[in-house]
Symmetry: C2
Subunit: 199 residues, 2 copies
Amino acid sequence: MNGAGPIARLVDQFARLPGIGPKTAQRLAFHILNEPPETARSLARALVEAREKVRRCSGCCDLTDGDPCAICRDPRRNREVICVVEQPRDVMAVEKSRGFRGLYHVLHGAISPMSGVGPGELTIRELMERLAKDGVREVILATNPNVEGDATALYLARLIKPSGIRVTRLAHGLPVGASLEYADEMTLSKALEGRQDLG
Amino acid sequence: MNGAGPIARLVDQFARLPGIGPKTAQRLAFHILNEPPETARSLARALVEAREKVRRCSGCCDLTDGDPCAICRDPRRNREVICVVEQPRDVMAVEKSRGFRGLYHVLHGAISPMSGVGPGELTIRELMERLAKDGVREVILATNPNVEGDATALYLARLIKPSGIRVTRLAHGLPVGASLEYADEMTLSKALEGRQDLG
């Protein structure tokens, strides 16, 4: 096995991916070498094609290969409600829930002084431009329920409120199917705070 | 997000790799899309290059980009001892131990009736041809210490013994740094069986 050869280079490339350690990288490389050449070529093609064709949507800043993206150009979506999320994967998650028929805005991150991410690194300017012209009535802040996501939501709420647009945040509470016994105390206290009348 | 677009295709290609589930595939795809285009291109290039250039060594059947491989053509290696392993990664592991200066033979698997792998699927014919002509004095069977590896070692031992070549197997015993308390009973019993005189 040549330490500087193509196998080592492939292992090294795999090992640069997040969450892929040297052992896994080696396993992936040997898998590719054991498969028909078409396996390597398909993955190579998908990599280059995705990186070349995918852009940010000029509307919602989500990643897309056609601008505007499929959601932004769908006439059946409600243009009066915008769901603000941190990442493209969050759009996928909300879409899977089938609970939302409005438009999205992808921030591509959350405010995090610890990681050196300020409001300027996010697509907040683009969001404010949309709100200024598009007749939006409600902005749902669906950033993650953690320190960075909460800080980002608070920052956006203060920025948007003066325009008179309704600003909401996803409800905190117990996950469906969870048991009280295993819920952490923060979640339980939020679930109590947000309790709703029955019947 | 277009379900049939380049992002979905990249996620799908990642998800075909062993041990990569849909969530991890999605994370890897978004990582690639967030990185400079050169990241995607480097990985794509490494994939195609490795799959095109890497062949089995005509000597030891290990994967190599030059035939014979670096080990087989190294004049400092002892050609009288052959270490038989299941996979190319096992060559890497033994090389790292720096405890072996002979040549290798890579079987590319182990006999496993459960998975439909018989002796014909392995490079046993190539091994026997090497033994018939190369002046080999010892074959170390370094297949894995599990059912398939042991069965393969037993099969090879019976095949090689009649030629008068010495056949050995890696020692079983406690891993260095392990504690008796956590050793499984099979390992412990093998370690007792193989106990050695001190002083």
